[in-house]
Symmetry: C2
Subunit: 344 residues, 2 copies
DNA sequence: ATTTAGCACTCGGGTATAAAGAGTGCTAAC
DNA sequence: GTTAGCACTCTTTATACCCGAGTGCTAAAT
């Protein structure tokens, strides 16, 4: 449906626009060394490409600019697979060498480095802990009517929550409870914890502890943690560098969205595995109209547990970013899988 | 040094400029009902005020704009003490009624509500936990060479850190250690924890546990927590509403700063008690040139533990914000002091 | 049947000019 | 001491103008 020459011209136009942010005209295009057609020929092809919806004009006599459909086609069919510089690879690997600070810090670093490497905004959805298994449970009484529930997972992650103690509960009873809980629940994945608390321990507790129900209920409530991981965003202000965001209203739209965690979750919520590219209005979010989002999930074993994403202008360096995000997501998958399996 | 009339005029000019963001001219000023001088008189006074450095012109024949010195004088001498609307007071009190979610959530709410109430940007430096006392210590081994250190304070705050276990340590030894640690360190303020760990427990451990030193060292390292509380920022994008920040470069400067935690810490690091107003270049930070910052510390008992702050344009509603910040900081002090004391 | 050269036309951006509006400073009168 | 009057300044807005980059179309060249 598109001739080779049309493909070639479309590609050059988009490549050029991505670099320059300027509408590209037939004259300048013809001047490039690897282009051997006359401006007039190019104009004709451009007119056809526009008619088919791949290009647009900003006004009647301006050069051409890729349309959303144009970008889509470019991403789906024309992308030259890029490769990473050695320095980029080492930068990425270095994130995970220092393991001592725990997963959170590492994920934070991923966000920072991604945004620095791309000079776009990075979003990293930290791993969810549903699959991680309970290593240890504690109930630490704070005063007469409050206690802290602590859950340690086999990955070294610690969840804690305050909860109310019913009146008249005894320290000895709490100790007994903790023993029973640990005995029965250690090794369970967090996702099943809440469901199994009653099932596994109620019977036993009934026998040994009076008034156990109220405590157990509070503890079970506290155990119902967040389903998703934490969000990290790097390079929030990088959008200011983009010439098409000289307009303060546009910047504001994007900035406002970035402050609203729920919107960002919606954007990067893991859906399918692999790399996804959402261009402009392909994103549900209104504020993303002039932006594109490239997401990749990373996994532990075969289970996707989080997402890394790059948010940039529609005029994004798709090739570079896709290569980078792909590489990094695999790297994260490897590291996390190894980390997790050694602790099984 | 300033006549009453000059004070009066200065005040009206600043009030007006804060409202309108427009340079104010003699003609318009004279039209106000409570002004009974002719434009010419006002012009003379304005010229004097300018000569003294309280006012500035944006160009030779523009109206006057307050200088930094003008704002300073206004804040120090001319501020009409404002009062809060009932709705504002209830909004503030409501932050602390729901205590179940712990201090972090409450502080987060403070930031959000502050920014909504003022439509400026709010910064809240969460309480530091130095004074909070150790309630319970745990060491949970994760695998052969890693463990999590957990510190629970009497306020229900939980600190946790991953650390390396030396080789060949036994589970039984760890249990003994935890017992000794709890026995000796419970009740100590966090700030002294690290220092006292050796002092209080080394002797005892030497007697019962072999190879205790390596573990103790790691644990002591992990206990050295952050000195300051967490930062919360609300309404980051509110600056976009200010007409003097139509300029994308100015916005960027401020936004960049807000992404840099260390800069913000520097800005709101608690210094003296009470309310402080820093206008424009009175702030060390370059990016604050066109902004003002109003800070107030809040305390537990007599000890300041954190800061709340409002960051806005130099043309800020000083009166309103000061009243609000003052009220809120006292409210927080009361709530936290009560909370803390019941748990002593 | 393509491809290309040539040309008329369009539009945005930059510059010059003019007029309007808001404001000042100064002088002289009140 | 206060104020009216006036000349002057500077910004803003509007208008006209030209230039450059680009297009679309037609006709010639390949």
């Amino acid at each position: 449906m598109l001739t080779d020459r049309q493909l070639f011209i479309l590609q050059i136009i988009i490549d050029d626009f991505i670099r320059s942010a300027q509408p590209v005209g037939s004259r300048n295009l013809a001047k490039k060394e690897d282009v051997s057609y006359s401006p007039a020929t190019i104009r004709n092809e451009m007119a056809d490409l526009e008619e088919m919806g791949f290009l647009e004009k900003t006004h009647t006599s301006s050069g051409r600019v890729p349309s959303e459909k144009g970008y889509r086609y470019y991403v789906d069919h024309l992308l030259a697979p890029g490769s990473l510089a050695r320095s980029e690879k080492t930068a990425i690997h270095s994130i995970f060498t220092d393991r001592q600070h725990g997963i959170e810090k590492a994920v934070q670093n991923v966000a920072t480095i991604l945004s620095e490497l791309t000079s776009y905004t990075s979003i990293v959805l930290g791993p969810k802990f549903n699959d991680h298994k309970v290593k240890n449970l504690q109930i630490i009484p704070i005063d007469d009517d409050t206690a802290v529930a602590i859950i340690v997972t086999d990955t070294g992650h610690v969840e804690n929550r305050l909860f109310s103690l019913p009146e008249g509960i005894e320290a000895a009873d709490i100790e007994k409870m903790v023993n029973i809980l640990n005995d029965r629940l250690t090794g369970l994945p967090l996702s099943e914890l809440q469901r199994k608390i009653y099932q596994e321990t109620a019977e036993l507790m009934k026998r040994h502890i009076q008034n156990y129900e109220a405590v157990l209920k509070m503890f079970a409530d506290a155990a119902g943690g967040p389903e998703l991981g934490k969000l990290f965003i790097g390079g929030k202000t990088n959008i200011f560098n983009q010439p098409e965001f000289r307009d303060i209203e546009k910047v504001r739209l994007v900035m406002d969205m970035m402050e609203k965690e729920s919107d960002i979750y919606e954007l990067v919520r893991p859906t399918e595995a692999g790399i996804q590219v959402k261009i402009g209005t392909e994103n549900a979010e209104q504020a993303m109209e002039d932006c594109s989002l490239i997401t990749a999930s990373y996994s532990v074993g075969d289970e996707p547990v989080g997402t890394i994403a790059i948010l940039g202008p529609k005029r994004m360096e798709y090739s570079r970013v896709i290569t980078l995000v792909d590489f990094l997501s695999h790297d994260m998958t490897n590291v996390l899988t190894r980390l997790y399996n050694t602790r099984l």
